[in-house]
Amino acid sequence: MESSEYTSSFVQGDDSQLLSAIKQRDAACTPLLRTDPMKALQLALVDPPFQTRTVEVKDAACDVVCKALMSVKEADIETVVGALSLDDCDVLMKYIYRGLGQPRKDKQYPVLLKWHPAVLKRTGQASIVRVISEVQRAL
């Protein structure tokens, strides 16, 4: 029986370029964390590193986003989520799940577990389905 091998359409990008982009984003976000956390989050969600499978790059990007998420006050979560575009909310959901999956990060779990229902209310179940099913565009 002819069996066609599954060839993934994933193309590995340049890790060092992605890492430097993430560091630039981190530098741009850090001053905004105290003054305007909404802007910091929007900046952090730009250009997610989809084109790599390296754990360090993904973790670095996730750290930037989690720092922004932790600096938003609990009362403001709904407004911040409302201000994001739906595509950004999808990316944010992927980051939330990545943050919840990182081991030994006790401080960020309760914060992320607060953001999860807020993002879910905005985007619906589809965002979780995208987290699980988008294997080529995973974070």
């Binding site: 599954y6 919840l100 999956g101 081991p103 006790d106 179940q125 389905v129 987290v131 699980i132 988008e134």
Partner: protein
Amino acid sequence: MSSKQGNFALKPYLDCIRETLHASLCLTNFASQIVERHNKPEIEVGTSTELTLNPVVIHRSEYEAVMIEAAVNSVRMSIKVKQLDEMDEILARKFTRFLMLRADNFIVLRRKPMPGYDISFLLTNFNLEAMWKHKLIDFVIQFMEEIDSEISAMKITVNERARTVGYQFLKEFTT
């Protein structure tokens, strides 16, 4: 009730797991691509990478986590129960072993946990066809709540028995 208090703290964690399970339990019948006329849970077979989806891990704390791995026709959910000291570890191991030995009665329980976790469930499309999806998810969530309360109740019983035994034994040596 202490369980109600515990529920309040657990609620965001369990809600997140419930929503994730609800999204990942979209399963369809899928015959094996490798063996004719066979139908296997693809998450367990694991040879075809295009059939398995991204695994998701949800931590509540450093010691408590849930891993949900989805595929086209099956979902595997592994639970790491909170174990803070050796007594908890022994109790958790014995309790989960007791349950896993009787996995047939639970239908959706897996006989061996995934490495790094204490107990695992395997939900297939056939389970979903036979049972209500929301009830299956309720079952799994309730299982998680009860396993925590059972292990803490067992720990209290063990400590109380040890205290009573020690007291009765040492009573002989006092005047």
